[in-house]
Every structure is written in structure tokens, then in C-alpha cells.
Amino acid sequence: MADSILALEGLRKRFGGLTVTDDVSLSVAPRGIHAVIGPNGAGKTTLIHQISGTLRPDAGQIRFAGREVTHLPLHRRARLGLARSFQITAVLPGFSALENVALAVQAGAGSSFRFFRPAAGEARLNAAAMAALEQVGLAPRAGVKAGALSHGEKRQLELAIALALRPKLLLLDEPLAGAGPEETERLILLLGRLKADYAILLVEHDMQAVFALAEAVSVLVYGRLIASGAPEAIRADPAVRAAYLGEDA
């Protein structure tokens, strides 16, 4: 599709004898949430890794924002507007929450080969970072070292970092994992707001959240896409019910 922000074509990845991505073709619209669901070990994180550039696919093509990016390294794809959160939180523990986000702002604000002016004093970077923290509701914790934040707060921080990159596509790998009930509610509200402005590829196990949020759902089982479409259609799909949703739907 010409109007999609991300298009995967015939993507394949094997780990030894195990096929983890099996001929996956998928396209993601430029706005709204596209959820990828599937049982543990289905290959969701591996798929995200290939899209973000952490892993190379064995075959297939990845087009992002009208460009073929299959062979671009992670940092080049990030520059094109691909932002990701990590399933296992990867904030910088020794940096304050604000500085974590300010570094992301810095990535899009001119050269970082500047040597003499203290970066922590750059008002422009700090203001944009603060705005991103406010968006996720973490502004009151701006000065706290990221390593000292609660698990849920780290998830929020991951999101703020991704937002600060002002990306064209957000890859979110289980942003709700490990968050408490209130935090989950807050994050769902936030994702609901964000999808008006961003394309989001969301990997999530929380079915309630997925079906409340997503415009499109793709189901991955043993590396294969067994269905892809509107949430209602997925819910009704007999193959999906048999393979996966059985107890949940």
C-alpha cells in the first residue's frame, strides 16, 4: 500500500532450526494503533527487533516512510523517525528522568558534536523534554535518577523518550507489562490520545487494552501471521479463536 507508513514483505528469520518469523507481510497505517498479539514465544519481539534494526531478517523487505530500510542500521532508522520502547526497560539508570528525555530531544536538535556548552543547561532541550514528561504524567519525577523510578514509571519514561523523538512510527513492546492497575489505566488513556497523532505498532498481552485501543490487529502464532484485520473481525475469526484467543475471548 502506498499510503502505509510501514510495510513488511515476506519477512523471514530463523534462529538455528527455529523459524521465528515465517513469511510475514504486513502494512501499518500512518495514524492509529496496529496491535500485534500472539502467545508467548510467537516471535513478536523478534519482529519488532527486525523493524527497528536490532536484528537482520534472513529474507524479505522492510519499507518505512517510502524508503527501503531493510539493511539500514538501528541508528539510521531512528533518524528516519522510527522510535521504539523496549520490552525489557532500557532507560539510562544513572541519568535523571529529565536527562534521559533530553538526550532524545538532543538527537533531533542539531549536531551533538558540541564540546563546551553544558548540555544540562540548554533550555530548549530541557523544555521539550519536560513537555514529553508531562505528556506521560512523569513531570513531577523529572529530577529523579531513572534507576530509582518504579517499574511503571520506567515504562512511562520509555514512552516519553520515544515521544521526544517526534517519530513517524512508535514501536511499543508490551508497554503495559508489569504496570499496576492505576498505571495501566493511565497508560491506556495516554495511548488513546497519542494514536490521533502517531502511527503505533503495539505488542501487548492485555487483550482488553488491545481491543479497546487498536484500529487493526494482527495475530502471530509460531512466527506466522494467521490473521490481520479490524478488531471485530479478529475476535470472530475461528482460526484465531482456536489458536489463541480461546480462553480470553
Partner: protein, 314 residues
Amino acid sequence: MARWREAALPLLLFALLGAAPWIGFGEGYVLTLLARAMILGIAALGLHLLVGGAGLVSLGHAALLGLGAYAVVALDAARITEALWVAPAAIGGGALFALLTGAVAVRTSGVQFIMITLAFAQMAFFTAGSLSVYGGDDGYTLYGRTEILGRRWLEDRLVFHYLCLGLLAASWGLVVAILASRFGRVLRAARENALRVAALGFNPAPYRLLAYVIAGGMAGLAGALLANATEFVAPSYLAWQRSGDLLFMVILGGLGAPHGAVLGALAIVLLEEWLGHWTAHWRLIFGPLLILSVLFLKGGLAGLPAQLRGAGRG
């Protein structure tokens, strides 16, 4: 202001070094020791940028210093002693060696980085030993100290003392500024999590390489000063034991703040000398002292005031 409090201790340290000749440390051999400590402090500051800033542990830093010293030798052998030539050659020599070897080394990290820097340093060490024009293993005695605009100022002990101090303070300021800058922020972030930094769109390699080159230039400068201090250069300047000493200075001094490297250099040079006077078996005492300090000084010597305050309260 927090920034002033962070600068207070290093500034006091530089003030003390500046006052040293006038408060009872003006004897020739004491000044020689202090100069040696300040010179190694400059190299250690560069190493701090790598270890404390970028998280790159180099076990070949003495080679960069040795290159600066051999730049002085090469020019001396060609009867060129003017600082306008010597200083750029020494700094450039260290930086160039860092650029060439770093292009390979910064692609790795951890143990691999240690081994690669060590291997390159050993190559430089054996090369220096085989340079028979410069005395080979026996080393090379300079015809004279470097001249500044044709004047032989460096022969004056006090001038040399304050030159070393000025360059030490400037090196400290440079490392502090770099670590706080945008560049330094990327460097520090890549130390904590390189994958995260790449996911933000930064390729860590050029940042690390440039840090390595800057540290190489600082080590080269230190090498030129050391050659002048001793008026003699030998391949042992590049030996891996010297690299280990520099690493010890940085770690004993504390990775939390750049002035730790200066404290570490002073502590090790002075302690070595003092224990050496006391007993011929000083290394037997020196070793355990270092081990104890690494075990009990969490933030190194630079972290000692905070640790004492914490203990006083707790």
C-alpha cells in the same frame, strides 16, 4: 551553586600545587616529583575521559604518552627543540596513534577493548625498542630541553612547575567541559546502554573514537613534558606496566569526577616515593594499600569527602 561546590575541591588542589614551592616544597627533588605527578595527571585525565566518561578501559595508554615522548626525541635528533614544533608534534603523534588504533578498538568494548589497546601498545613498545637511531632499548638522552620561542625557559624549575600546573588545570577544565557537553552526554549515555543510544539515532562509534583521539592528544602532551622533565626517553615509557599505573591512578582517584585522576596521580607518585625511602620492599606495602583503597573507598579519593560526610551523619 552545585557547580561551584563541585569545582571547589579541584580548584583548592590547584591552588595548593601553585603554592607548593613557597610553603616548604621548593626543593629540587620535591619539585621534580610534583612535576612528574602533574604530568602523569594530564595523561590520567585523558584516561578518565575514556574510563569514567565513555566506559572504555584502555590498557595501552602509556603507548600514547610514549609516542609524545618519542616525538620530542625524533625532533631532538633532528636538532629541532622549538616548542612551536615540538608541542604540535607530540600532541599530534598521540592523537594520530589513537585515531589509527582507535578506529579498530572502539568497535569493541569490555575485555576486547582492553586486549586490543594492550596489543597495539605492545607493538609500539617493541617498535620503540628496535629504533636503534634513538638508542633502542637503552633509550635516548635529549641534547636539551624544549625551547619556547628560542628561549630556554623550561630549564628553570619554577617555570617548568607552573607550566605543568597550567597545562594540568587546562586539561582538567577541558575534560570537565567535554563531559558536561552534548558530546559528553552521548558518550556517558553510550557507557550506560549503547543499544538505547543507537535507538535514539546516535551511532556511538564516532563519539568514542573522538574521545579516544582527544585522550591521545592529552597523553602525547604529557609525554613531551615527561621527556623534558627527565631529559631522557626509553621504550619503558610505553610498557604495559606504565599503562597499568595510569589506570590505577584513575581508579584510585575515583571515576566520579575528573579531579580524581589528578588526586590519583599525586597519591601514587608521592606514595611510591615515600614508601621507597622507607623500605626497599615498598611494593609489598604498596600493593595491599591499593587493594584496601579500592575496596573501601567507593568513590575513590575524589569521593572521600562525601563518604566521610555520609559516615559522620550515619
